[in-house]
Symmetry: C2
Subunit: 303 residues, 2 copies
């Protein structure tokens, strides 16, 4: 593996520099990410999501919500295997992108602490001001690294999110949760991409004979083979199909190396990144308080 | 004036007993309110709201929202005078209620500190735990005393409300602000009661030639001679006219002597009281934060 990025700092120093100090926005990381990861983890086999660009795709004239392999595994109680590759292979793919195949470390569920135990001591276990503010420790620390074509479609999370970019940059497009009435949701059958041959992907609809598993999913959906998904592409909104969407209020935030973004729970977000951007985020469980009750009341009115 | 209530404690001791201690609910006041008020304030001329029972009334086949004299004065920039009587007269009325006339000290706008300066030193200027929690001092300290027939119709306030009953009891009927979609609002022309002869009241529609003043009112109403009012009587709801109201979730709270109720901002409340109940409340300005944004989003969907 050849790296176009090099530098004299360890990831430990990067993270400590990133997180210590009253104004993390004024502190930048350094572009030695590839070097460090390849040195520490090059022979490590790492779970990777392979997927195509869009999280929504058509197949035989039908639209599907495309789940990642990891969420498919969660939903289907282990019937599918996550794909693995070495960090060396992964970094090679990032340096030499191939048409059609998009790789992204984004397994969530605290994949930083679960999948990269070698790096745990380099990173603080929590963000002290956030832990004090939220009155709890984070539920998860996630690591994100991948292809610039890996765009995360608009969604919301039930977590207070402290998002830290270590190298590269991320572009967040945000709507407040009070814009829920203007966000067009649809319910679609779920599918996963399957690599039929190297670089060739086909839609693989989920087996609708597994309703029990789906009923336990986050969709809270009685029609359990359907998954809610936000239809609109905020970068190219279809104002004819989704006329209310233009009522949303939009914030655009570029999070650069050394920046830390507090993304409050239930805010809608769409995320892009620079090629091989490396980021960590801390998920603090949200409070199911009057704010959540308000959100559910809004949601009920929208349904 | 004759008083059926007597006791050995001053209002000062009552209030200090009420407010000091970790569990104010376990501490009761004493029934010497009449005695104390008559001793301190008997010759004092005090602004009193005279009004009839209902805050909604019909006149010539039209329904009106009945404003109190004080709010009418606020809205009309001083064109009407508040009525005054001595505390002695007021207490006599409470002891000998007359059909048709209902008297209530409820001017708000910090009427405790404005109208009863003699008693200020008897009462703490704020509630320390609330001041710490809300990060500010109260905007107003109000005193409430009156006829058991003076029922306050369902409404909400933009204040965090710490409600302290000194003697007697109050019955609160509460709905959370997330029930806004089920609360039937109407918009009605405003009126005040006018005492045409002692004990005889007539509806006096407000002059609709004063739109400027009304445009500045809290109604935020472009059709500025109309005032929003919650139509339903929660004690006898008309399920045929307001079928959604049955979806509300109701809390009933009896606040007794020595009890302190925290009534959060924007909660809907309907209030009854025992005859000659005496209460103080502290209004802390609400935060216009995400909760307020949620409420306004709900309200927008309901309009």
């Amino acid at each position: 593996m050849q790296s176009t990025f090099s530098g004299g700092f360890s990831i430990s120093l990067l993270c400590r520099t990133l997180f210590v100090g009253s104004d993390s926005r004024s502190i930048r990381g350094h572009n030695n990410t590839f070097d460090i990861l390849s040195r520490i983890c090059i022979q490590k086999h790492t779970p990777i999501n392979k997927r195509r660009y869009k999280s929504m795709a058509s197949h035989e004239k039908m639209e599907y919500t495309i789940l990642s392999k990891s969420s498919w595994r969660q939903r289907s109680n282990g019937c599918c295997n996550t794909e693995w590759m070495t960090m060396s292979q992964f970094l090679d793919h990032l340096e030499n992108p191939q048409a059609g195949s998009v790789f992204y470390i984004q397994r969530q569920n605290s994949n930083f602490t679960e999948d990269f135990p070698e790096l745990i001591s380099d990173v603080p276990p929590d963000i002290p001001w956030a832990t004090e503010s939220f009155g709890k420790l984070p539920d998860a620390v996630n690591i994100w690294m991948g292809d610039e074509r890996a765009v995360t479609s608009m969604h919301k999370d039930p977590y207070e999110n402290i998002y830290c970019v270590i190298s590269g940059e991320k572009d967040f497009l945000l709507h407040p949760p009070t814009d829920r009435p203007y966000i067009p949701y649809g319910k679609y059958p779920a599918a996963v991409y399957k690599e039929s041959s190297p670089g060739q992907w086909k839609i693989n609809p989920m087996n609708i004979d597994t309703p029990k598993v789906l009923q336990e999913s986050e969709s809270d959906n009685e029609e359990s083979n359907l998954v809610p998904w936000i239809r609109v592409d905020p970068l190219h909104p279809d104002n004819t199909r989704y006329p209310k969407y233009k009522n949303t209020r939009t914030l655009r935030v570029k999070v650069q190396e050394g920046d830390m973004l507090y993304l409050p729970s239930l805010w809608f977000h769409h995320v892009r990144q620079s090629q091989a951007c490396l980021a960590l985020n801390y998920w603090y469980d949200m409070e199911y308080d009057i704010k959540y009750a308000y959100f559910k009341a809004l949601e009920t009115l929208c349904e």
